[in-house]
Amino acid sequence: MPGLGTSLGRGGATTAQQDLRNADAILIMGSSMAENHPVGFQWVIEARERGATVIHVDPRFNRTSAMADLWVPLRAGSDIVFLGGMVRYALEEGKVFRDYVARYTNAPMLLGDELRDTEELDGLFSGWEEGQRRYDPASWGYRAAPASDAGGGSPGDEPDKGGHGKERGGEAEDASNPERDETMQHPRCVYQVLRRHFARYTPEMVERACGVPRESFLRVAKAFCAASGPERTGAICYAVGWTQHSVGVQIIRTAAILQLLLGNVGRPGGGILALRGHASIQGSTDIPTLYDILPGYLSMPLFERESETLAGYVGKHRTESGWWHNFDKYIVSLLKAWYGDGATAGNELGFGFLPRVDGDHSHQGYWLEMAAGKLEGLFVIGQNPAVGGPNARLERKALARLKWLVVRDLVEVETASFWYDSPEVERGELRPAEIATEVFLLPAAGHAEKDGTFTNTQRLLQWHEKAVEPPGDCTSETWFVYHLGRRLKERVRRSRRRRDQPLLALTWDYPLHGPRREPVVEEIAKEIHGRRLPGEGESDGSELVGGFTDLAADGSTACGCWIYSGLFAGGVNRPRQRQSRDALGHGWGFAWPADRRILYNRCSARPDGKPWSERKKLVWWDATEKKWTGLDVPDFALGKPPDYRPPPGAKGDDAIAGDQPFTMHPDGVGWIWVASGLKDGPLPTHYEPLESPVANPLYGQQVNPAAHAKEGPDNAYARALDPRYPHVLTTYRLTEHHTAGGMSRTLSHLAELQPELFAEISPELAAELGIRNGEFVTITNPRGMVEARALVTPRMKTLVVDGRPVHQVGLPYHWGQRGLVRGDVVNDLVALSQEPNVRIMEAKALVCAVAPGRRPRGKDLLRQLQTEQARADELRPDQE
């Protein structure tokens, strides 16, 4: 989420699905919303029926394109060129919403003279250290602003660190007002730097790099840029079609820049809607089961000097100005929630208990450790990497190196059965009798069999009630984790060892109920919401806080996740509320933060506090009441007047002026330019996918320099322009199935609707290869080989990229060896690669070869694969 986080301040969708209804134009790109979020798509249809222009830019003409007014196919992996072209169009054709841009973004800020742009360095920014293959962002800062604050080591360049924690990204900025040029004419101001940076993203370049006819591109640019200004707004919807690229974060950045230039953030019918694919994927980042952050986007302490002590750690992450000035309150309250009385002034409130991150501990990072036999045990809970993981073949084989594996799911997924029915067993690569891994497969409870909250794609927490007891031995994760923790705490009850102190101190006294002694989920929710703890002398009776503004840094409050604080305000279970009062759904569930449904909604009013227009009003300043009011909970200090100017030395939110809507940022404005917080540059730049059939038409730099290819024998790549893999391969989901299929391939009512793996192929390619519709084809690349039914369809277009025809092949990835319907694992073709900021794999733009007929079986396939990989190795350029 750093794409949105660094640009706007928070790593979440800025708007609500219902609000799409108010848009005048909707750009859906990197998503097939109609296919993967059909019920949310009703709001797009409603907007369309009310006259909005719906635009879909996608390699395939899919169910979303079928409902759109405009559809443009582009080559998978060329998104930044297309969006960059739109940015350039907005800048050069005078489509920019100047009043908004000049006041609400950092476009007027001046940048340092030492900065060098990709224009000058053929695709690299200044600060690139070829040796360490990373950027030093020192030269990216505003003029007259220190490169970083007291914390030292500027963030964004720490190899060990992931990107989720840097939602604020602003460590490198403080409140010392940088030089500005309100006219945005100064050659070194962000606005002018931006113009020069995107100067070469012309319609002609879009045509050349994306394979989009320039007229079609211009139609799209014109239509979307028209949805701008006081009377009109446009929204952008994206999903993993943008994120699963080696430049994923920067694609989203480009969209954020476009929306800021058009004045579409924080206004009704505007914003950027990140469409997420799992019931609580937003929640699992807010309360992260991730390695690089703690609940509420607080960075995990790294194995480094600053993070030795709480003071050093806070000093590093706390900003002088902006909301993150409260950083200390949130980390301390979290420590109190976890370690309770064990967190004392004496032990830095238990800060020393927290483990330090000393490497890439992301999914892909530790899976490679696993493959190397360095891991002993693994818990897999509600995920199916044997089918859904990048380079699934490598991931399956790695499982055999574990001492033990615990899988919890509704059905026996391929991850649990890898040791006896994986393709590797069929190929003789793995033999059950030689696999030492102990496997525990535990049945899980379903959503209607337990209480709890999901956080949906628009940051909305909704409670689901337990209807029935789970069958047999099925249990909730709450039950599993609680009772596992109880057993482990037993063992350290009397331990004095340092390593056991965190476990000993861990607060684990949840009230239990029911036949299985299940923890009361509402109690956990209250812990997340936060309590004011009884002070010295006070008899206990700890009470719930009102919200995150009540949290303190002195250990007098405990809060499990500050951004969720408020979900139990007034002792009421807000996520459980079911009385929707208005279009934005207030009264139904709870949206973080503070039940704001549209973020940065201060932007919906002019700098003077009045709505930009009657048609697009949302939140405004009530001069008589002296407070912000409107149709949503203002995302702004309620009593702060529009003309407020921070006094010298003001800190935190007080340092944010009354016309600065992006309060999470130290400078209170939206960031077109991200001075630090990103590992691959302050502005988006087009790089080719790690595997591409064309040379980067814009720069000599072929791929994202900061990306990690994790190249190896089992993770081989086709080098650029490899003639043996001339086609672009992209993977996706279908409406009828869910991700790796554990929740759909097993259901007859879904399985029958899409019973077999198919490859969508253009008639031209089919003709070239003599493939007939419905026949089997084999898709190959250096990592794998899958067979699928050919679905020959004119919905797949052959594009002309850089003067040559490029065929694109589409593969949905839902099938595996188990379930009612089975098929090859498409993710065997996906490389285990990492985007630099969030370490996501590149699954949407790959290369492949296609041949008629079925793939070889068993050992023959293995032999074939090895030759493919040997070929790839010997052909790999020495630059690797």
Binding site: P73, R133, E207, C210, G211, V212, P213, R214, S216, L690, A695, G700, Q701, Q702, V703, N704, P705, A707, A709, R719, A720, L721, D722, P723, P726, P763, E764, A766, A767, G770, I771, R772, N773, G774, E775, R789, V792, T793, P794, K797, T798, L799, V800, D802, G803, R804, P805, P877, Q879, E880
Partner: protein, 344 residues
Amino acid sequence: MRRRPDADSEERLDELRRQGAALGAGGGVLPEAGVRPAGAPMPVASAATGYYGRPLLKEPTWTWEVPLYFFVGGAAGAAAVVGAAARVVGAGDELERDARWVAALGGALSAPLLISDLGRPERFLNMLRVWKPQSPMSVGAWTLTAFGSSAAAAAFAELLGRRGVAPVRLVGDAAGLLAAATGLVMTTYTGVLVGATAIPAWNRSVAVLPVHFAASSLGAAVSLLELLGHDHPALNRLGIAAALVEVATGAVHELDADPAHAPLKQGTSGALVRAGGVLSGPLPLLLRLAGRRRAAAVAALAGSLLTRYGWVAAGHASAREPAVPLQLEAPATGARAKRDPVGR
């Protein structure tokens, strides 16, 4: 990671550039030319093909028993009529007796045939749940009930009648007349039953079918009696009449150019129908004129049976072809069995 294209891929790139140019690139997208090129056939849904050539109608679900029943029930009905006629005219007791027995046995055989065809045989009584004149099947169910019992009664009376108990003979005659009356329906209603459906090959023949089936039934009935050893000239006259009608109905179909009737002339169904037609029309006619009554009888029986199977087969073929009900220009290409145009 900086990748510099090496020599051979540069060549490849140039070659591809040439291809691109050759393809008249510039528009960014290849021309629509090769949308359905040879080698990449795709199923098509259009006004010309219908929905991927899929059938619109469902095929009949009747199993082998039903056409057999059409034959048996029809013959039995006709036999009852012949028997009654013989009785009325007083043309011979044995003939009347055997006719009654043929009718009774046919009626008795009909019910089990129909029941075993049901998806839920145990529910056969539901056939008498309601009276629906608008449903030929309902009419048939009630008719068969009446016919079966009256024919049986008539035959049974025949048995007792030998001992010359007067009232029994009276009841027997009444039953015989009732059997004859319902027998008339038995021989004809199946034509309406088949004709009044959504199957084009059937419903376009609805005006012919009852006559066709009646003649076929009569031919079968007299043939049976003849094979039982009766040589009453009336039987031969009826045989000739039946054959004449069959020649006529056959001609009607052969001369008809309606595409809906293709199944009557093409494929397996066409062969069956035509064979049935020849065996029950021209052939017995010639044989009878040549005085070969027994041979004619055998032919007519076989023809009558084949005819029924032929018509049911034609119904299947007709239901598979969407061109007629959808009024497509030409027969839909690639109409295949449900949900398998891939051709596996």
